[in-house]
Amino acid sequence: MPETAMDRAARATPPRMARRIRGLSDRAVAWVFVAPTVFLLLAVNIFPLIWTIRLSFTNFRANRPNAEVSSVGFRNYERILTDPDVWQTMQATAHFLFWTLFFQVLIGFALAWLINAKFRGSNFWTTVIVLPMMLSPALVGNFWTFLYQPQIGLFNYVVAFFSGADPTSFTMIGEVALAPWAIVIVDTWMWTPFIMLICLAGLRSIPASIYEAAECDRASKWRQFWTITVPMVLPFLMLAVLFRGIENFKMFDMVVQLTGGGPGNVTTLASIDLKREAFEKWRTGYSSAYAVILFVTVFGLASIYVKALNKVKER
């Protein structure tokens, strides 16, 4: 393949033009190439961000564009940070974040480790396992409401079949105690393959020679696992957790379709609460402050995490 490109380049060269410098300079090309991307991102990301920050200090309401807007200083921020409902939302988000990551890391790593044994057909089964994570989260969440139906749902039927419980005795998305777990189950089902794929890449990056050396030193398999496998995979695993953490902090589509934030507000994650404030109650100023707080939180947590990740990588 490399030869063909060289050949093609050589063949297509107009001899007369050889050594004549025409067209734009490299610097100009660089600017022309980068400018549209940066411009678009400024227009669709940074400009709105600045606008959000400005709105967050006002009492503006988007459904009353002609009403008088007045500055309220930090009142919106104060109200959000002292609102017990917001803290309830943060707790629901933290619960979702912690348990989804916990199960996905556990199952994802175990699966990667098993697949790395390279049995016959492991590539095929890897592709099968990966399918759920590529699908539309909203449609998946919507369809899981059907699977979670007490009488007719497949999930309840299977659980009842193996546990002997009455399938109508529990409603995953209707009960305060179960709903937070219902969303954890669906998210784990969808995204475990993500952690698995990245861990698999980590496992495959470990040279066999290290294990051979350990074998010569008579290190037990158990010891090899904890002193070679885990530390070598850790940077990969941490990267996967970073991606999933950011995504699940933003989680909206799957949960909104599955539980709509209910029952009550036990599954009202940050994004769902923000959507209600912004697009149902139309408290634009208040929700802008909310958005800024969320962004600062995710950005802050991610920066701290990336620092830790880099430390692990350096080791």
Binding site: M6, F33, T37, N45, F47, W125, V130, I246, A270, F295
Partner: protein, 312 residues
């Protein structure tokens, strides 16, 4: 690791690992198979207890998905016998078809917005990625990080100002507005992925072309682009899948004209409760292309989902 390696897994371990992975795969596939199966069930079969694994296949769900219907009196039905197979299906339920449903439109919106934004983000992304890969762009690392950080904003959070911006620019609920928005969201992925792919193409090819008298732009189009074709194609598929699956912006910023399928399919309701076969039929039609693309993409999957951070 080869089979003969002393440190490789034993045959027995391989066997156990294989069985466990296959069991997991089968369990994980169940909900997907259930979606596809439900699409081919009749209304009563779909809500039967215990859930029916074996059933007489029916296209009722698909007919309901694509048409709107009304109930008619027995005399009217007797006087107007069904002409086609799909009319027959609804005739059996004492209904007649009154016209097409909105599903076709919504699906087309998904296609237009998906392909439009994919084309734009791959086009702009390739240019930017080439520049970042080959030139000393000032503040390059900062710009690359800025591009990535735009992905950290919750979509609902940017929707507030975007909603106001679109309203004042007349872009609310238009294809152009949604294409622009998805392009901006996908650009970060496109730039990061494509930069990785272009970094892997040796600079010597272009340098040879430049010495031969190509302009920088010609070197880019005639030497680099053909080499990056696979990378560009897989980046395009990733962007397409994202735009295809996107829900938050679509539900907040579109209502009638430019609404895509993900916010529409969950709103399908039948007479007397959710029409699960129709919902499942819509989901099947919508999800199948993504499954096919995922299988095609499997070699580059890891790269795509990690923004090029892990390349295998």
């Amino acid at each position: 690791m080869t089979d003969t390696s002393v440190t490789g897994p034993s045959t027995r371990l391989k066997w156990i690992a294989g069985v466990m992975v296959v069991v997991y795969a089968v369990v994980t596939l169940m909900p997907l198979l259930w979606i596809v199966a439900t699409g081919f069930k009749s209304g009563p079969d779909s809500i039967a207890y215990p859930p029916k694994v074996l059933f007489a296949p029916s296209l009722e769900g698909y007919v309901n998905l694509f048409t709107t219907q009304t109930r008619q009196s027995a005399e009217y039905l007797a006087a107007n016998p069904p002409q086609t197979w799909y009319e027959e299906i609804v005739h059996d339920k004492n209904m007649v078809i009154t016209g097409p449903s909105r599903f076709g439109e919504r699906f087309m919106n998904s296609v237009i917005i998906g392909f439009g934004s994919t084309f734009l983000s791959v086009f702009l992304g390739t240019l930017a990625a080439y520049a970042f890969s080959r030139f000393r762009v000032p503040l390059r690392d900062d710009l690359m990080f800025f591009i990535l950080s735009t992905r950290m904003m919750p979509p609902v959070a940017i929707s507030i100002p975007i909603f106001l911006m679109f309203r004042s620019l007349g872009l609310s609920d238009t294809h152009a507005g949604m294409i622009l928005l998805y392009t901006a969201v996908n650009l970060s992925l496109a730039v990061w992925l494509l930069k990785g792919f272009i970094d892997e193409i040796p600079r010597e090819y272009e340098e040879a072309a430049l010495i031969d008298g190509y302009t920088r732009f010609q070197a880019f189009t005639k030497v680099v682009l053909p080499q990056a074709a696979t990378g560009i194609a897989s980046t395009a598929i990733f962007c397409l899948i994202f735009a295809w699956n996107e829900y938050a912006f679509a539900v907040l910023l579109t209502s009638g004209n430019a609404q895509t399928a993900p916010p529409f399919i969950p709103t399908i309701i039948g007479m007397g409760g959710r029409d699960w076969p129709a919902v499942a039929a819509g989901a099947t039609i919508f999800l199948l292309p993504v499954m096919v693309f995922t299988i095609l993409l499997r070699k580059h999957l890891l790269r795509g989902i990690t923004f090029g951070a892990v390349r295998k």
